[in-house]
């Protein structure tokens, strides 16, 4: 699955993409980068919580859950 300038929040369940950029408030962006979502990293959207939010990602071989509001700022390709 390859998308140009899409957001991680729009990735379908099971879809895999590469992080290209992380936007948002500085502290939030720094946190996401530090946990390993740096540009070039492969992410897979594993599942969505029963109420539609948050989402579960697989990144660097661990399962990470973030909210859609943060995922919106993560651009993928």
């Amino acid at each position: 699955m390859t998308r140009k300038h899409g957001s991680l929040a729009a990735l379908p369940v099971g879809g895999t993409a590469i992080v290209s950029r992380v936007r948002g408030e500085r502290a939030v962006v720094r946190r996401l980068l530090e946990i390993g979502l740096v540009p070039g990293t492969q992410v897979t959207l594993r599942r969505v919580a029963p109420m539609g939010d948050p989402i579960e990602l697989k990144v660097r071989n661990f399962a990470l859950s973030i909210r859609r509001s943060e995922a919106l700022g993560i651009e993928i390709e």
Partner: protein, 697 residues
């Protein structure tokens, strides 16, 4: 006595860091506070290779960068800024998630302090097909690498030996990490400024701190970091601004280059399984986070926890209560009557009883939390429920503490420790006491039975059921509304983003769980118990002094400080429908809400204070205002119950919030807002109800 050499234990959350710490130190941990912040400093003295070392358990984090003084503890401890410098650092990493865990390890190694990497959960990693070349990892990082399975105690002896070797080394000049030339120049510029100002002596430490300053300092002074010389703060922000003007992102440059190094190391030392790992966890998750089955499992698990807190703790609480009563009776029989004996029986023994009585619920709740957390399910609870909790500004991790609040606020406040962000944790703590705890039940029951006719029904429901339902509903609505309001006012600010790791499912270790339960119980007994004991004695004095020559306990109480206080506050509480006697009850209830019933029994001169409160109900029904109006009308009863739902009528809650927030200002703020809320709501109920002509009958 010269201070012992310090060894820090650092690591990501969920890496098993605390388990390693406990395995290294046994049950000898000592809890204190870091100067100036409200973070527990957990440490223990351990003899390694014939030398005593002080091991310090650092808070679990994903990185060293900080926005608050609390987060700053990690870097200050490492670099010995305002704190003693460490002799060595153990970085605990999850062997299966090296790609993330090494990020912090290389940040620590870059400071030049000797490092031992504990490659933890290596059995799990091996089962999933991960093979880590330890020799190569050691060569590439410059740290000694030890394989451990902390839950089973494997590798701990080796780790101790490695710590001994590392602590004997001197700090080295770790080579700088490879970074883009522009940002390397920024760091070098700040590094030399740090060295010139002699804030730090070693170049590697200065470089690490320079990197940290660039990542952590915020432009408009929005960070809450302390102890940074103004000149360096200014210099850092200048460098950041210069970079921004050039269209660069310093944070990204630093973090991305660190991860580049991590990726290079992982590429070289890890043999990955051909198939992605964690298939077992994935299968479990397919059910446990499924929309339908997941929600069903979630509801069942929460019901079991809830039920257990309510009913399983009951026998133990009964034993403690009758034990305390037995000791009081024995003391009364043996000691000569007098004020000292009274102090011992009704002040000290009762106070100790007030503390110990919470132990069963705290123990049970932490047993469950340990089970849920160590198995990995607690993170799924947060995942499933976050959406709902967020709508009022709380996060998913607040759910279990909030639910526990229905049982008792004391263990629930302690359970907020599972919430990572301090703001979120404080918010949860401050609204939790609005959840209707089990100690409010006797009050609802007494008042309902007093003011409503026994057989009265509303529709097909008994009036008691309707009242109980209404009170619980009110408590939930109040707690959620308070959370939403506080999030927008007192605890404003950018909420921490939810960054929730969902660890693989694991079988919890009984030993580790039992140890954690004991630590929590001990922290409660020492931290909050002492305050509860002191407050019990103060309250006892208020209710018993000054002494008058009166035979009846009621006379004594009426003339006591509390009795006078009840009279004094009557003008304030009369608009709520309460007279001074109810006021004394409310003051007495501060010891514990259920004490309301027994205090009322004394003030209304009811002799028997056994389980049967029939005489008290009759006395309450017959009670009148001086002008002959009935005191306990249904409207006054509802007003009183509303007051009990919303008021912070519990000194133990205040004591435990003081313990967990580390200051008196938050519990006092909580007491103030809840009192205002309770007063306003009761006033509205009674005044509006009276105007509408309700409750006069």
């Amino acid at each position: 006595m010269t201070p012992l050499p310090i060894v820090l234990v650092a690591g990501n959350p969920n890496s098993g860091k605390s388990t390693i710490f406990n395995a290294l130190t046994g049950a000898r941990a000592h809890v204190a506070n870091y100067p100036g912040v409200t973070i527990d400093r957990v440490s223990a003295t351990v003899a390694i290779a014939g030398r005593d070392l002080e091991l310090v358990d650092l808070p679990g984090t994903y990185s060293l960068s900080a926005r608050s003084r609390e987060e700053q503890i990690a870097v200050d401890s490492l670099l010995g800024r305002n704190l003693p410098s460490p002799a060595a650092v153990v970085v605990v990493v999850d062997a299966a998630a090296l790609g993330r865990a090494l990020f912090m390890a290389i940040e620590v190694i870059a400071t030049g302090v000797p490092v031992v990497i504990a490659l933890n959960m290596s059995d799990e990693a091996a089962r999933d097909g991960f093979v880590v070349d330890r020799a190569k990892l050691a060569a590439m990082t410059g740290a000694e690498v030890v394989q451990t399975v902390a839950t089973k105690g494997n590798g701990i002896a080796d780790l101790k030996l490695a710590i001994g070797r590392a602590a004997a080394k001197t700090p080295s000049e770790a080579p700088p990490l490879e970074r883009p030339a522009v940002v390397a120049a920024d760091i070098a510029e700040l590094e030399s400024a740090i060295l010139t100002e002699r804030v730090l002596e070693r170049p590697a430490a200065a470089r690490a701190w320079a990197t940290w300053l660039l990542l952590s300092l915020d432009d408009e002074g929005a960070d809450d970091l302390a102890g940074i010389p103004p000149s360096l703060r200014k210099r850092t922000l200048e460098i950041r601004r210069r970079a921004e003007a050039a269209g660069r992102n310093v944070d990204l440059e630093i973090i991305a280059s660190s991860y580049q190094r991590v990726d290079t190391i992982v590429e070289a030392v890890v043999q990955r399984p051909p198939e992605p790992s964690r298939r077992r966890s994935d299968r479990i998750d397919a059910i446990l986070t499924h929309g339908l089955y997941g929600s069903a499992v979630f509801a069942v698990v929460m019901l079991v926890v809830f039920q257990a807190l309510f009913t399983w703790s009951e026998p133990a609480i009964a034993v403690i209560e009758s034990g305390v009563a037995g000791i009081q009776a024995a003391a009364a029989a043996t000691l000569p009557a007098g004020p000292l004996t009274d102090l011992i029986i009704n002040g000290i023994i009762a106070g100790v009883g007030n503390v110990v009585v919470f132990v069963p619920q705290i123990g049970l709740l932490f047993l469950f939390i340990g089970l849920l957390e160590d198995s990995g399910y607690l993170a799924r609870v947060a995942f499933v429920i976050d959406r709902l909790m967020r709508s009022v500004g709380l996060n998913g991790r607040a759910f279990v503490p909030m639910l526990s609040g229905f049982s008792c606020a004391i263990p629930a406040v302690m359970a907020t420790r599972t919430i990572e962000s301090r703001t979120d944790r404080l918010l949860t703590m401050l609204v939790l006491p609005l959840m209707s705890c089990s100690a409010r039940l006797p009050v609802y029951v007494l008042i309902t039975a007093t003011v409503f006719a026994p057989g009265m029904r509303i529709g097909f429901l008994s009036v008691g059921a309707v009242v109980l339902f209404a009170m619980y509903l009110l408590s939930v609505v109040a707690a959620l509304t308070a959370a939403a309001v506080l999030r927008r006012t007192a605890l404003k600010g950018p909420g921490a983003p939810l960054v929730l790791e969902l660890p693989p499912y694991r079988l919890p270790s009984l030993r580790v769980m039992a140890f954690n339960v004991w630590q929590r119980v001990r922290a409660f007994l020492i931290g909050a118990g002492t305050v509860i004991l002191a407050l019990t004695i103060v309250l006892w004095a208020l209710l018993s002094y000054p002494k008058v020559a009166a035979d009846a306990a009621g006379d004594q109480l009426r003339h006591s400080f509390a009795g006078r206080l009840g009279h004094a506050i009557e003008p304030a509480i009369a608009p709520l429908g309460f007279d001074w006697r109810i006021g004394v009850g409310i003051i007495g209830a501060f010891a514990a809400r259920e004490v309301f019933v027994s205090t009322l029994a004394i003030v209304f001169d009811i002799e028997s204070d056994g389980a049967e409160d029939e005489p008290l109900r009759d006395a309450l029904r017959a009670a009148t205002w001086p002008d002959g109006r009935r005191l306990m009308t249904p409207l006054a009863g509802v007003s009183l119950m509303v007051f009990f739902v919303l008021a912070c009528q519990c000194m133990s809650t205040i004591a435990v919030v003081r313990r967990e927030s580390g200051t008196w200002s938050w519990p006092l703020f909580m007491l103030a807002y809840m009192t205002v809320l309770a007063y306003g709501a009761s006033l509205a109920v009674y005044q509006v109800g009276s105007r509408l002509g309700l409750g006069l009958g």
